[in-house]
């Protein structure tokens, strides 16, 4: 399949669906409405084939052999890095480090940059929207060096309190701002470019958690002017087990390695070792080459469809869903209304626990997430223990939304009308 003839205005989710073999199966005997792409996306045949053909035709370790297969594998790995660099408009592909996932990328920054640059009395700024992956690594390093953490609160709509952010920056002690570009729970799109500009004025660097943005919108690291940016392959139709850390070159070059061992060295002596150049310095051990090939094919797949079309499709579906869900009695919907909302809809229904909602939806073939979404501080801030969450992607259709809405009505018929 090729999307080359498609313009943004002819986005065709039925054609996209045909690329995803798993969408043809049933769930609990019903048509599958997969609405949990914020947790992990499904994979198109192109990605599955690329991984398969890597192992069938090109498999060998990288950077090691002089033989043809190793050369081929190394070339594919380098090309994959180039594709990822183009996806996010990185100035140089050596600034894109392959890691396992967003979590590992953030741990790398917190441990390597953090240990070298943070000291007692410094402030790390996080926000109430963060996923545990962008909280816990900072807590650990803060404890080790004696730094302090400040959280930027949200307003009632779920937007960041920028006034408060400015205030915190005004203290003069902020060294790093770690912020998500899209909330995986509320769908809030944060003003990352503005955050970066304010942080830089205050002498702080910005680490962007782009796990929920890179799959859904054009992300340009030079335009955003971020210092670090992290994302995962498995949330962008790519394989599990691979992610990317983008970093500013001067920062990456000054940072000590995160993990050490093979592949990341220049010279090893009995008593000391010198490090390889970027990106190898941060890629200790044998990398997941097949998954690098897979994430590159995924990036090309999304680029061919076009991010403008993807975004437009998600906005249309989200509005279609919100319009119908809003009409359901007992419904509470979370997240901002407007341009700054991604395709994520968290909701609650009076009298029904989110896990019961998800179980009933599951029985109707609708896959949604219920729980704290790895954002317990945000749950407490919203004064809930959990929510149910539907999230939309390129292969979702209005039929998926209709199936969701009808299943939610079933929830109400089981729990809602029984008020005793």
């Amino acid at each position: 399949m090729t999307h080359q003839t498609q313009s943004q205005h002819t986005f065709d989710s039925e054609r996209v669906r045909a690329d995803f073999p798993i969408l043809g199966r049933t769930a609990r005997g019903k048509r599958l409405a997969y609405l949990d792409s914020a947790a992990s996306t499904q994979k198109p045949q192109q990605v599955i084939d690329a991984i398969n053909s890597f192992y069938s035709e090109s498999n060998a370790n990288v950077h090691r052999g002089v033989y043809e297969l190793s050369e081929r594998s190394t070339e594919l790995y380098d090309q994959a890095r180039g594709t990822i660099a183009r996806l996010i408009n990185a100035p140089d592909k050596r600034q894109c480090i392959f890691v396992r996932n967003t979590t590992e990328a953030i741990n790398l920054v917190a441990n390597s940059w953090g240990r070298e640059n943070l000291k007692a009395g410094d402030t790390i700024v996080l926000t109430m929207l963060e996923h545990h992956s962008n909280i816990v690594p900072w807590q650990v390093i803060a404890q080790q060096v004696g730094a302090k953490i400040e959280y930027v609160d949200i307003d009632d709509a779920g937007r960041l309190r920028m006034d408060q952010f400015r205030e915190i920056l005004g203290t003069g002690s902020v060294k790093v701002v770690a912020v998500t570009q899209v909330s995986n729970t509320l769908g809030t799109i944060t003003p990352l470019k503005e955050i970066t500009s304010l942080a830089h004025q205050a002498g702080a660097i910005v680490v962007a958690d782009a796990a929920q943005s890179v799959p859904h919108m054009q992300v340009d690291v030079q335009n955003l002017n971020v210092d670090f940016l992290a994302f995962s392959g498995h949330k962008m139709v790519g394989p599990m087990g691979i992610g990317v850390l983008y970093g500013r070159r001067d920062l990456l070059e000054a940072m000590p390695p995160y993990q050490t061992g093979g592949s990341m060295i220049r010279e090893v002596h009995l008593d000391h070792t010198t490090w390889a150049d970027l990106p190898e310095k941060f890629e200790a051990g044998t990398p997941s080459v097949a998954d690098a090939v897979g994430i590159a094919v995924a990036a090309d797949y999304l680029s061919e469809i076009g991010f403008a079309g993807i975004r437009e499709h998600e906005i249309t579906l989200t509005n279609y869903a919100l319009g119908q869900l809003r009409e359901i009695p007992g419904m509470t919907l979370f997240g901002p209304d407007g341009e700054d909302r991604a395709g994520v809809v968290s909701f609650l229904i009076d009298g029904a626990h989110p896990h019961d909602i998800a179980s009933i939806l599951d029985g109707e073939g609708v896959a949604v997430r219920a729980g704290h979404h790895c954002a317990q501080p945000l749950m407490r801030r919203l004064d809930v223990t959990a929510t149910a969450r539907a999230s939309f992607y390129i292969y979702n259709t209005e039929e998926d939304v209709d199936q969701l809405v009808s299943a939610v009505e079933t929830v109400n018929s089981i729990f809602g009308r029984r008020a005793s």
Binding site: P354, S359, T385, T410, I414, F415, R418
Partner: protein, 128 residues
């Protein structure tokens, strides 16, 4: 899904038996299901080696709350030693609904809390 949310389960969820707390209980214990944050506390009053009074409180899904309610009915007035033998399967049989692997901990949270409080057994009850 009508299977999972049978009348009986909904009845226990919406009008639980033995819901509340005991003043100065002989035994009190509280725990959460780390997966979903569901929380159950069980208070016991013991007399002559028997459960003279049992109350549970907490919040969570229909399965965890109904299961705790059913558990309290099951053990109220029973010999504390006999209750020790209560198994995960006993609870699942009592619920008599198809519990998927993802929901088993919801169904067993009450039993786990009871056993932790009464016997210091803090492991999740084993299912076959």
């Amino acid at each position: 899904m009508a299977d999972l949310y049978r009348e009986n389960i909904l009845e226990h969820y919406q009008n639980p038996s033995n819901f509340g707390t005991i003043d100065a209980p002989d035994i009190t214990y509280e725990d959460t299901n780390p997966l979903c944050g569901d929380r159950i506390r069980i208070d016991l009053r013991i007399a002559d080696g028997k459960i003279a009074e049992i109350k549970f409180s907490g919040r969570g899904c229909a399965i965890s709350q109904a299961s705790a309610s059913i558990l309290t009915e099951l053990v109220d007035g029973e010999d504390l030693d006999a209750v020790r033998e209560l198994s995960a399967q006993d609870i699942l049989d009592e619920l008599a609904i198809p519990i998927s692997p993802a929901r088993v901990k919801c169904a067993l949270l009450g039993l786990k809390v009871l056993k932790a409080g009464a016997y210091g057994i803090t492991d999740w009850p084993e299912t076959e």
